[in-house]
């Protein structure tokens, strides 16, 4: 039975098609691992009965010859996606008891493709964080630990529960969202694949909004092929989301094994940071070697405004968050803390309902949008954003994809980097520019540190060119032959 949880999604679909096992058995196997690993705190809400009911329906559909793209696959869903009738918390106290009366477009597509829901995955509150240590529902643990050290490590964030669950085989794959790195960074910390597609590729309707011009849904999965399959099911135009793009979704698995011969890969000099860990440098060099050996051409490029990406992000994202989170006021849903007047009720509810990091960001956002400061901060940041996009557009004149490290370090211990908010923000230094430019980015596990922790490489592509990213990522995955798994 435990072998079923060691399969990739692709392998599982083949087994289901052959009749080697049923979706019910596959789902039961994952439920068992989910129940045995509650110590990781990856799930906020487990939905085993629902999962089994969906699996049973899937087995029926398969018998009737109607198998969808993800027929019978048990998935975990980040608690930022509204799931009809099922508690949706966004990792926050302020959404206590909230059961959405609607299903997000992305999850509706997954169920229509035949998948089953194991539960709702823990995350940093309102997707604000890189460590999954800001959730009202407690920290998530990384299933990986340092060799000879049993300290709990962070899984990364904000999609920490998603990454931890997939790495620990508590779900075949999971949905995540990525606003500044929240799919790619936790995927890297947990040794799995994560892709943030181009802004507008997936619908944001029904996903609790953090920063509307940056948020994007995407999959976390055990292999590049699995990620391609899952994105296939998640992507597509949605008329209910004005920012979703009306472009056909290509078959992402079609050219997967096409290799990288003749592909031009950019190596941005500004990503080589002062004091970069030698292991990260070393892995980046290895990645360059692998792609070269496979026939790609390496091109040195410059992305001159890289160092301004993080501060630009930390003006724009909090500004948009302050607007998106204004709706949490205790009136229509979620937590209500009484007050003598309406204003007092708002202030009490929001003070009690939001955690410290969310408060910091809402306040920064409120400040930079306030009268007298809008031009100096928000408008200035939007201009920087244009420059950052232009850096990439210029680079893509001479290259087809860009290779960088995914994170500046491997997973760190829970409790480290908590003193200074900015130290935590630096975790996203390689991922944030990609969100500002609206481009697709994928992180692929490629090696282990001396302490046995996973490290990943990131590939950045042209808008809507996820196909090239998957192709190059597959080449890296093959060359890296990363087979390590955390002991659970």
């Amino acid at each position: 039975m435990s072998e079923l949880t060691e399969l990739t999604m692709t392998e599982a679909l083949a087994g289901l098609a052959k009749g080697s096992f049923s979706s019910r058995e596959l789902t039961e196997a994952h439920i068992a691992v989910m129940e045995a690993n509650r110590g990781l705190n990856a799930y906020v809400t487990e939905t085993p009965e629902k999962a089994l009911a969906m699996a049973a329906e899937s087995d029926q559909r398969r018998k009737a010859g109607k198998a969808g793209l993800l027929e019978g696959i048990p998935l975990g869903i980040k608690d930022l996606f509204c799931t009809e009738g099922v508690l949706t918390t966004a990792g926050s106290h302020i959404l206590d008891g909230f059961k959405p009366p609607y299903e997000s477009t992305v999850t509706a597509k997954l169920w229509a493709a035949g998948a089953a829901m194991l539960g709702k995955l823990n995350m940093d509150e309102f997707a604000m964080g890189s460590s999954n240590t800001t959730s009202y529902h407690g920290n998530v643990k990384n299933p990986w630990t340092r060799r000879g050290d049993n300290r709990d490590l962070v899984p990364g964030g904000s999609s920490g529960g998603s990454a931890s669950a997939v790495a620990a085989r508590m779900a075949m794959a999971a949905t995540g969202t990525d606003t500044g790195g929240s799919i790619r960074q936790p995927a890297a910390f947990c040794g799995i694949v994560g892709i943030k597609p181009t802004y507008g590729r997936c619908s944001r309707w029904g996903i609790v909004a953090f920063a509307s011009s940056l948020d994007q849904a995407g999959p976390l999965a055990r292999s590049v092929e699995d990620a391609a399959l899952m994105l296939q099911a998640m992507a597509g135009h949605d008329p209910k989301d004005s920012t979703s793009v009306d472009l056909p979704v290509p078959d992402y698995r079609a050219g997967l094994r096409g290799g990288v011969k003749g592909l031009r890969i950019g190596i941005p000099k500004e990503y080589r940071m002062d004091g970069m860990a030698p292991e990260i440098e070393g892995l980046w060099s290895k990645g360059i070697g692998w792609l070269k050996a496979a026939g790609a051409e390496m091109v040195d490029i410059s992305l001159p405004h890289t160092k301004y990406a993080l501060p630009t992000y930390y003006i724009i994202a909090p500004a948009e968050a302050s607007s998106n989170l204004a709706r949490y006021d205790g009136v229509r849903f979620g937590l209500r803390v009484p007050g003598a007047s309406l204003d007092e009720m708002y202030e009490n509810t929001r003070a009690a309902g939001f955690g410290a990091e969310v408060k910091r960001r809402v306040l920064i956002g409120t400040y930079v949008l306030s009268a007298g400061y809008y031009d100096a901060y928000y408008l200035k940041a939007q201009r920087l954003r244009s420059l950052i996009l232009k850096d990439f557009t210029d680079a893509f004149e001479t290259v087809d994809a860009i290779l960088t490290p995914a994170t500046p370090t491997a997973a760190f211990a829970i409790g480290e980097r908590m003193d200074d908010p900015i130290a935590m923000y630096l975790n996203d230094v390689f991922t944030v520019p990609v969100n500002l430019a609206g481009l697709p980015g994928i992180s692929v596990p490629a090696g282990l540190t001396n302490e046995g922790l996973p490290l990943s490489l990131q590939l950045i592509g042209r808008a809507f060119d996820e196909a090239t990213l998957f192709r190059a990522a597959r080449t890296l995955e093959e060359a890296a032959a990363f087979t390590a798994k955390p002991a659970i």
């Binding site: 909230f98 059961k99 009366p101 802004y199 507008g200 011009s213 008329p239 004005s242 920012t243 793009v245 405004h305 301004y308 501060p311 630009t312 930390y314 003006i315 302050s322 204004a326 006021d329 205790g330 009136v331 229509r332 849903f333 979620g334 209500r336 009484p338 007050g339 007047s341 309406l342 204003d343 007092e344 009720m345 708002y346 202030e347 929001r350 003070a351 939001f354 408060k359 910091r360 809402v362 306040l363 920064i364 409120t366 400040y367 306030s370 901060y377 200035k380 940041a381 939007q382 201009r383 920087l384 954003r385 244009s386 420059l387 996009l389 200074d420 908010p421 900015i422 430019a437 609206g438």
Partner: protein
Amino acid sequence: MSLDRAAVRHIATLARIRVSDEEADALVGDLGKILAWVEQLGEVDTSGVQPMASVVARQLPRRADEVNDGANRDRLLGNAPEPAMGFFAVPKVVE
């Protein structure tokens, strides 16, 4: 741009979040650090650069003028902390 406690209180009022005196003092430090850090954007000459209004460069999609939503009061009030006679009950607004 350095913040003082009065500025923090003002922002907290705009954001409708109650902050205690202790929290306000801590925020003066935290927010001050973050604002000092983002000041570096001032190093970049952005004269003549258009602010990026939208990541997707296309026309705003428009809907037809048709009634196809609303009419779901029960579901609307289903999560309300204090539903009452078809309304969302809240404390009295005292002018």
